[in-house]
């Protein structure tokens, strides 16, 4: 074990890595960047730098979330702004090194420049001035409407180097919480911040912490839900791949407030890179005395384990998640007991379950205060939320905006409307549990209540855009097919009801359906929603119910006259 945690030392070391006093080239290497060749760019750069012997520091970063423009590469030349290059290929590597050697950047590849960057938790990194022909970050339409709080470090720091996290204010909140705050102060800060769960239902986080802390028994667990089961949502993946320490720091603070000695991250097996980065980050944190015994010398013991899923959407549901961790099939059980109840949590111990992004909100709330946080966002919907804007939208990517931002701003201003100039018709929020919202309702502010009012849900933050060519009945069938395959099979409305919903939709699409079938479809959807045992069945009919409500004419057109 190392001695007492020394934040300042790490901070200095990290700043020397971010601003090394010589040129730095950093390649965006999250799963997304790798999938379009980022790794090859990195290897090529490495090769050239080695061969030519130039004094350039080469690093990996996470992802800034402008997915359409990947692979992205950042260049920092001392005294100059950080420049983000886009759509970089292996072939560009030579040119990049050549330019950097001359103290400049390949202008043709430049997306924007960043003279200084506010890492929100108290640290502003000042890069420098110059390269005036390159547009400013703040003028890029995709970035202009965003507010980066959770993604404040993503794409700027190396996620595999704890020093860089320390350099931008990392673990200052944990230090503050563990050495200068008690459980009660922390929980009431989280309550006052107004933070609500980012995993779907929007339950007040502070209240859930309080209930768990006050549950009978000394032992408590905290669990991070990193199952990210909504197909089309990937913000949690990026949060873990680009800034894993932010999650760990949030969990340390939560564990201290709740009184848990053990924390658990339940992560889907489809995210091998996120798992690797988390394992690495947990190791780094242990080495610095941020996990393990007597954390930060505050006399508090806590450690984090990782448990992997195995491909079952229902395991995002709390009781199924616990069953899965305990080595059983993920079949939900009726609540109560809830996870926070004695007998209900992991191994029967009261447990607090929060989504990845919920945990990621904690450090900034502690660092900047609940008052600061509560001012972001909207009434009863404090803070920002990261959305994955995908499907048939022009600018696909991860978008972070204050809650309460309208769908219009997200889809049209940030996303620039339909891909290839097509007209946008609707969006699906909340994945298979959510609903389709037609374009005429795009002034709906994105907050928990408004989305519910139009028949959808916030979910974990997936926004899939559909354009004029999208067949809405086919979309409903797609989601029902997904939910049928993911149903655990325990209760009849979901197991059998969804199967028959799918049969009915197939019959309609084959133009063999009748008006009576449409009636049965609606009644069946209503029954499944109201009688299913768990959230999967209770929300699975939403895509059918919303498309029936907003795109009825497409159903009617399929029915035999």
């Amino acid at each position: 074990m190392t001695g007492v945690f020394d934040r300042a030392a790490g901070e200095v070391a990290g700043q020397k890595k971010i601003l090394p006093g010589k040129p730095r080239i950093a390649v965006g290497l999250a799963t997304c960047g790798i999938a379009v060749g980022g790794e090859k760019v990195y290897e090529r750069l490495q090769e050239i730098i080695k061969k030519t012997g130039v004094d350039i520091s080469l690093a990996k970063t996470g992802c800034i979330g402008y997915c359409r423009e990947e692979p992205l590469v950042n260049i920092t030349i001392p005294g100059k702004p950080l420049v983000i290059l886009h759509k970089v290929t292996e072939e560009d590597a030579e040119g990049i090194v050549e330019a950097v050697k001359k103290g400049t950047v390949p202008y043709k590849k430049a997306l924007c420049r960043v003279p200084s960057w506010d890492h929100v938790t108290g640290t502003v990194i000042t890069y420098g001035n110059g390269f005036d022909e390159i547009p400013l970050y703040a003028d890029i339409p995709f970035f202009k409407h965003q507010k980066k709080v959770i993604l404040r470090n993503a794409g700027f720091i190396n996620p595999e180097d704890i020093d860089e996290y320390l350099a931008v204010g990392g673990y200052a909140a944990a230090e503050q919480a563990l050495t200068r705050m008690d459980s009660e102060t922390i929980i009431s800060e989280v309550e006052k911040s107004g933070l609500r769960g980012r995993g779907g239902a929007g339950f007040p986080t502070g209240m859930k912490w309080r209930i768990t802390r006050d549950a009978p028994g000394a032992a408590k667990y905290i669990i991070c839900n990193a199952d990210e089961g909504d197909p089309g949502a990937y913000m949690n993946r990026n949060e873990m791949e680009s800034d894993p320490h932010m999650l760990i720091e949030g969990m340390i603070i939560g564990a201290y407030a709740i009184g848990a000695k053990e924390g658990l991250i339940y992560i889907r097996a489809e995210y091998p890179l996120a798992i690797r980065r988390l394992v690495h980050a947990i190791g780094e944190a242990r080495a610095l005395g941020l996990l393990g015994k007597d954390i930060i010398g505050a006399g508090f013991d806590f450690d984090i384990r990782i448990a992997t899923g195995a491909g079952a959407f229902v395991c995002g549901e709390s009781t199924a998640l616990v069953a899965s961790i305990e080595g059983r099939t993920g079949r939900p059980h009726p609540r109560p007991p809830r996870l926070t109840d004695p007998g209900g949590g992991l191994w029967g111990i009261p447990s607090d379950l929060n989504n990845v992004e919920t945990w990621c909100n904690i450090p900034v709330i502690i660092r900047n205060g609940s008052g600061w946080y509560a001012k972001i966002g909207a009434e009863k919907n404090a803070g920002t939320k990261v959305f994955s804007l995908v499907g048939k939208v022009d600018r696909v990517g991860l978008v972070e905006v204050p809650l309460g931002t309208s769908l219009n701003t997200i889809v049209c201003d940030i996303g620039n409307g339909g891909a290839q100039g097509k007209k946008v018709k609707a969006v699906q929020t909340g994945g298979p549990s959510g609903g389709c919202i037609p374009v005429r309702l795009f002034d709906t502010p994105v907050n928990y209540e408004s989305l519910n009012a139009v028949g959808s849900i916030m979910g974990s933050g997936g926004i899939v855009v559909m354009d004029e060519d999208t067949d809405m009945v086919d979309i409903a069938r797609y989601f029902i097919n997904f939910a049928t395959g993911e149903s655990c099979g325990k209760c009849v409305p979901c197991r059998e009801g969804l199967r028959h919903t799918l049969i009915l939709l197939n019959r309609l699409i084959a133009r063999k359906g009748t008006a009576k079938d449409l009636e049965t479809l609606a009644l069946l959807a209503d029954t499944i929603k109201n009688t299913s045992l768990c959230g999967l069945g209770q929300s699975a009919p939403n895509p059918v119910l919303t498309t029936l409500a907003y795109f009825r004419e497409e159903y009617d057109a399929l029915v035999k006259p």
Binding site: G343, G348, G489, C491, G497, R499
Partner: protein, 282 residues
């Protein structure tokens, strides 16, 4: 095994009497008592498939839904998971419940088209037809009568401790059977699964010196033959596990005897003991 997931046990100790209202009538109940049990006791019918007194409420069949009236609003909940408390007010036949129950019965009729029990129960609630496509099950080991209530699996695992059968696959592909759908080595042949099955879907038969569990991949379990009268009386594995729970001297006495001969022997022993005779030559 999981620890502590026992809502009943936790709710048990203080047995305070409370009054609950069902369909407008007041009834006495113990605080924390399962509402479905209360209703059964006072003969108010609530349909159900997956409830069994000796097991934790499972909440799978969804048929036992009732309306709980709270501050003028009615929320649906399953009666098997509801606990009696003072002032609990429930309705068993609200228009919503009738509507949803009808669809659930129709789903069951389509899922288990061969089950007479399902047909009868559905008919009692006025459902005689289903608008859903019936499953065609060719060679279903459960004879097209299983509604996946899970009772057999739970009795086999949680009460008998045999763990011979379990759910296989998920969603609409779920079935109950032995692993690899091959004869099980863990099966005691106790037949508890068949006894507990609400739709009588589990088929087994005693033939010769064997019990054959047709539904469980034709698992065969040898039966013990009574050393005294020669009748086959119980699965050998089960007899062993029962005997292992009895004190050794008595166990030696009873080993290998069928229940009838056991009773005879015990009676004889008692008589001999009472009359001071020698039990040795029994």
């Amino acid at each position: 095994m999981t620890q502590g997931k026992t809502g009943t046990e936790l709710a048990e100790p203080p047995k305070k009497p409370v009054t609950v209202s069902i369909n407008g009538n007041a009834y006495r109940a113990d605080e924390g008592e399962c509402l479905l049990t209360v209703a059964e006791r006072v003969k108010i019918p609530i349909p159900h498939f997956c409830f069994e007194q000796s097991l934790e409420p499972y909440g799978a069949c969804r048929l036992c839904m009732v309306g709980v009236v709270h501050h003028g609003k009615t929320v649906m909940e399953t009666a098997c998971t509801l606990r009696a408390k003072e002032g609990l007010t429930v309705l068993t036949d609200t228009p919503d419940i009738v509507k949803y129950r009808t669809i659930l019965f129709e789903l069951y009729l389509a899922e288990a088209p061969k089950s007479a029990v399902v047909k009868e129960m559905a008919a009692r609630y006025g459902v005689t037809k289903t608008r859903f496509l019936r499953r065609v099950d060719t060679g279903d080991p459960l004879g097209g009568a299983c509604i996946l209530c899970g009772l057999c699996v739970r009795v086999c695992n949680e009460i008998m401790g045999a763990g011979a059968i379990n759910f296989i696959n998920r969603g609409p592909y779920t079935v109950v059977n032995t692993p690899f759908t091959e004869p099980s080595r863990d099966c005691y042949g106790c037949g508890a699964c068949a006894a507990v099955c609400p739709t009588h879907a589990v088929s087994l038969e005693d033939r010769g010196g064997e019990r054959i569990l047709h539904s469980w991949s034709e698992t065969k379990v040898p039966l013990s033959q009574c050393v005294s009268c020669g009748k086959y009386f119980a699965p050998a594995a089960l007899e062993k596990s029962v005997l292992s729970r009895i004190e050794p001297p008595l166990r030696d006495d009873l080993e290998g005897l069928c229940p009838a001969c056991r009773a005879k022997k015990l009676a004889k022993k008692e008589i001999l003991a009472a009359t001071g005779g020698d039990p040795g030559d029994a």
